[in-house]
Symmetry: C2
C-alpha cells in the first residue's frame, strides 16, 4: 500500500509533511519525499487531510469485561466486585468470552489500537477471537490461589498459558521465529496480584516465567489499602519488594497501576527493566488515586499506558488514556509542560510495543512492522492544525481514526472492519448479557 502526500509523526516523534509511505507485506519499506517505484498490486491511498501516526499499544486490559460496561457503575469497589462482577463472571463460558472479546476488538481497532496486553481467563478463546479480528496481543491468565499446597503445573490458568505458548511457537498466530517472539498473539505469564495469591504461588510463577522466558503481567499497588495491607501481611515489605524476594523480577514484569509504589520499589523495578503500566481512567474512576508518572519518568522508570477493562474505565479508547495522562500529569504537578505531547504519544506507542517485547513495532520507520493509524484532520476540532502533536494529545478523539493497519493489513477503515461481522457481534453480546442476567 502506498500512502501519498501524507503528514506523519516520524520515528523521532516529529511531524513531517507531504511524505510518501509504502508498506510491503507486514513492514514499512519506504518513507520519503519522493514517490517510490510502483509495486505490483499496490493500492494507493490519498493522504491529503490525513495524519499518519503509529498504532497504539494498550499494555493493561481485560478485554472480555466489555460485556460488563456500565454494570454496577457507581458502587464502591468491594461491593461492585462481590455483588456484581464476580457473580457475573462466574457465569461466563468460553464462547461468551470469545464474543465479548470481539466486541472489545471492534472498539480497540476503531480507536487506533493495534495490540493489547490482556489478563483474563479462557485465554485461548480470546486468542482466537483477537487474531481473527486482525489484532495482536500478549495474553495471560490472571493466576490466583490461596491454597497453601497449590501446584502451578496443575492449574488451568497455567496449562492454558502453556497451550497458548505452544501455539504461538508453532506458528498458529503467524510466527516464523522458533521462540514465537514474532507471533501476533503471544503468551505472557499472569500473576493476578499479591492480595489474591500466596508466597508459594508467586515463587512458582516466578520460576515458570523465567524458565519459559515469559513476560510477567501483574497488578501492583493499585489502591492505598492494597499497598498498606501487603506491608502488614508481608513483614513491612511493599508488593514490589515482596515480589522481588520471590524472584519475580528475574523476568520482565509489566506492572499495572503502581499508584502507590515507594522509592525503593522504583529502584528495584528500574534495575529489573520492569514497566509501570499507567491506567489513568481506571485509577480515577474507581477512586484509586493518581500515579505520579512524571516522577517515575524523572527517575528513569519505564512507563507504558493501558485502559484496564471496560467495566472500570468505561471504554477501551487509548486516545482517552493519552489525553488523561497528559492532563492529570499537568494538573497534579501544576506544571503546564509536565510531560510533553511527544513523550505521551511515545508512551502509548513505542514504549508500549517494547513492553510487549515487540521490538520491530511502535514507530513509523522503515523496517518496522506496519502498525499504522490514520487520523482525519478535516474536522473542526483539529483546525487550524498548527501543532499536530498537540492536536493528537489534547484535541483528537478516538473516532478521528479512519484507518487502522496491523502488520500491513487494513483491519479497520471508515467505520468498517475487514474481519468482523459487526451486527453479529452486537447481537451475540446482547443475547449473552441477557442470558447471564437472567441466570443471576
Amino acid at each position: 500500500m502506498l500512502f501519498k502526500n501524507i503528514k506523519l509523526i516520524d520515528g523521532n516523534y516529529e511531524v513531517q509533511s507531504d511524505m510518501y509511505v509504502r508498506t510491503k507485506g507486514a513492514f514499512i519499506d519506504y518513507i520519503g519525499k519522493e514517490c517510490p517505484e510502483k509495486l505490483d498490486g499496490e493500492t494507493v491511498y490519498d493522504g491529503r487531510n490525513k495524519l499518519m501516526m503509529p498504532a497504539l499499544y494498550n499494555v493493561h486490559c481485560h478485554v472480555p469485561m466489555t460485556i460488563l460496561r456500565g454494570y454496577g457503575d457507581g458502587l464502591p469497589l468491594q461491593r461492585w466486585l462481590n455483588e456484581k462482577i464476580f457473580p457475573f463472571e462466574a457465569k461466563l463460558t468460553g464462547e461468551d468470552v470469545y464474543w465479548t472479546t470481539k466486541l472489545g476488538a471492534m472498539e480497540l481497532l476503531a480507536s487506533g489500537c493495534a495490540s493489547i496486553s490482556d489478563m483474563y481467563f479462557f485465554i485461548n478463546d480470546m486468542a482466537r477471537s483477537l487474531d481473527e479480528a486482525g489484532m495482536k496481543a500478549n495474553i495471560c491468565h490472571g493466576i490466583s490461589s490461596f491454597d497453601p499446597d497449590v501446584k502451578l503445573h496443575e492449574m488451568k490458568g497455567y496449562n492454558d498459558t502453556m497451550q497458548l505458548l505452544k501455539d504461538a511457537k508453532s506458528g498458529v498466530y503467524g510466527a516464523v521465529n522458533a521462540d514465537g517472539s514474532d507471533s501476533r498473539i503471544k503468551a505472557d505469564m499472569g500473576l493476578h496480584a499479591e492480595y489474591t495469591s500466596n508466597e508459594g504461588l508467586v515463587r512458582q510463577i516466578a520460576e515458570a516465567a523465567a524458565e519459559e522466558k515469559l513476560i510477567v503481567h501483574t497488578h501492583i499497588s493499585e489502591t492505598q489499602s492494597e499497598h498498606a495491607e501487603c506491608k502488614s501481611r508481608q513483614d513491612g515489605r511493599t508488593v514490589v519488594r515482596y515480589f522481588a524476594d520471590c524472584g519475580l523480577f528475574k523476568s520482565q514484569v509489566n506492572a499495572a497501576h503502581c499508584v502507590y509504589i515507594e522509592d525503593e520499589d522504583i529502584e528495584i523495578m528500574k534495575a529489573a527493566g520492569a514497566n509501570v503500566v499507567h491506567n489513568p481512567s481506571s485509577n480515577l474512576k474507581l477512586g484509586s488515586g493518581i500515579a505520579p508518572v512524571k516522577d517515575y519518568l524523572g527517575k528513569g522508570l519505564k512507563v507504558a499506558l493501558g485502559t484496564d477493562g471496560a467495566s472500570s474505565n468505561n471504554n477501551l479508547n487509548m486516545f482517552e488514556e493519552i489525553h488523561l495522562a497528559a492532563m492529570i500529569s499537568r494538573g497534579i504537578t501544576r506544571d503546564a509542560n509536565a510531560i510533553s505531547a511527544a513523550d505521551i504519544l511515545k508512551m502509548a506507542s513505542y514504549d508500549g510495543a517494547m513492553a510487549q517485547g515487540r521490538t520491530d513495532c511502535g514507530r513509523i520507520a522503515v523496517g518496522n512492522r506496519a502498525d499504522i493509524v490514520l487520523i482525519d484532520t478535516d474536522r473542526p476540532h483539529l483546525q487550524p492544525g498548527f501543532d499536530s502533536l498537540s492536536d493528537i494529545v489534547f484535541s483528537a478523539q478516538g473516532s478521528d481514526v479512519v484507518l487502522t493497519m496491523t502488520d500491513g493489513r487494513v483491519v479497520y477503515k471508515d467505520g468498517e472492519y475487514s474481519f468482523i461481522d459487526k451486527e453479529r457481534v452486537y447481537a451475540e453480546v446482547k443475547q449473552r448479557f441477557n442470558r447471564i442476567i437472567n441466570e443471576l
Copy 2:
C-alpha cells in the same frame, strides 16, 4: 418534528425507552408512549439505536480563541500569554473574530452544545456569527483596566455590551419579551478578573450590571498565585470577598474556575445564588489545579461546566468536560461515586441553562425549548448499553452526536451543518491564521 421509538434521558435524568417526542416551533410539545396525532409538515425521525438527551450548556468559553488551538502549547502560563497569545490577539480584527467564532461553533454543535457563555472582544461580530450558525449564547466583553480614572461608560467593552443588549431587547436575535430574556443571543456584563482591574472599575461594573439586570461573567481564583496575590493586594481579602465588598454579587455572578476559593467565599456565593463554572480540562492542562467540586456541591453551591477557550483545553467538546469532571471528582476524593452520572449530566445541561438565565431550557420536558441532542448508540463503545447514563458520562465521545437541535431547529446532522459552509470556514481561518503569523 416527531421522534419515534427513541430512548431518552427525561427531565428527572432517568432513562425512558420506546418513547415518542414531538417538537412544535421552538418547543417540545409532546413526550409519551403513544404516537401523537400528525401535525402538518411534520418530519418523522426513526429513533431506533438513538438516545435523546438534553443539549449541553457551556458556561465558560472564549470561542474566538479557536484559531489559537495548539499555538504556544507547553509554554508556562506567563510566557504563553506574553510571548504568544497577547501579541497574536492584538492582530485580530472583527472579521477574524467572526470567522474563528464560526469554526468554534462547528465544533460546539458537532459535540452537542446548544449555548455558550463567552467572554472575548468584538462581541457583536461574535453574536452575528453564532446566531447565523444556529447557536445560542450569553456574550460578554472581558472588561479590564488599571487606569485609576477609568470611566466604564466610555469604554468600548461597555458600549459594545450595551449595543448587544439593545439588539437583544429589540428582537434582533429572536426575543419576544421586552427585557430580551428569551433572546437567542444575550448580553452578560464581563469583568475579566481581579488581577486585571482596579476597585473603581469593579464598582462601576457592579453598578452597571445591577442597573441593567445583567448576569456578571468573571474569572475567580483560577490559580493559587492569583488567589494569594489578591489577598496581599486587597488587605487579606479573597477575590470573592473583595468583589462582594464592591457590590458585584448584587447581580447573578457566573464565576469561572474557583479552584482556590475558601469557606467564607462559598458562603458568600451561595447566599448570592452565584454559580461556580468548573473547567476541568483547562485547570488541568494549564497546571492550575483541581477544583473541589464535590465539596462545593455538598455545601449547596451551584456548579455549571465550561470548556474555557480552545487554546487552553485544547477543544470545545463538552463531553470531555463531563467525562473529566466525573473522573477527577472520583480520583481526588477516592470515592467511586463522588458525583453520580446523572448529577454530572445535569450540571452540563439544566444547571448550565439556569446559569445562563434560560429558565425554559436544559431538560427533555414538555414546554421546554427543544434544545436536543441525539447520540448514535450503534457503536462498539456504547455496547451492550446496559446503563445509558453511565455510557454517556464515561464511554461516549462528542463524535457520537448525530443531531443537534436548538429552539426546535436542526442545526447539525450527520456531520453536516444547516447554516455553516464548512470549507469556507476552514479556509478563512487558515488564511487569517497565516496572515497574523506573518505579521508577527
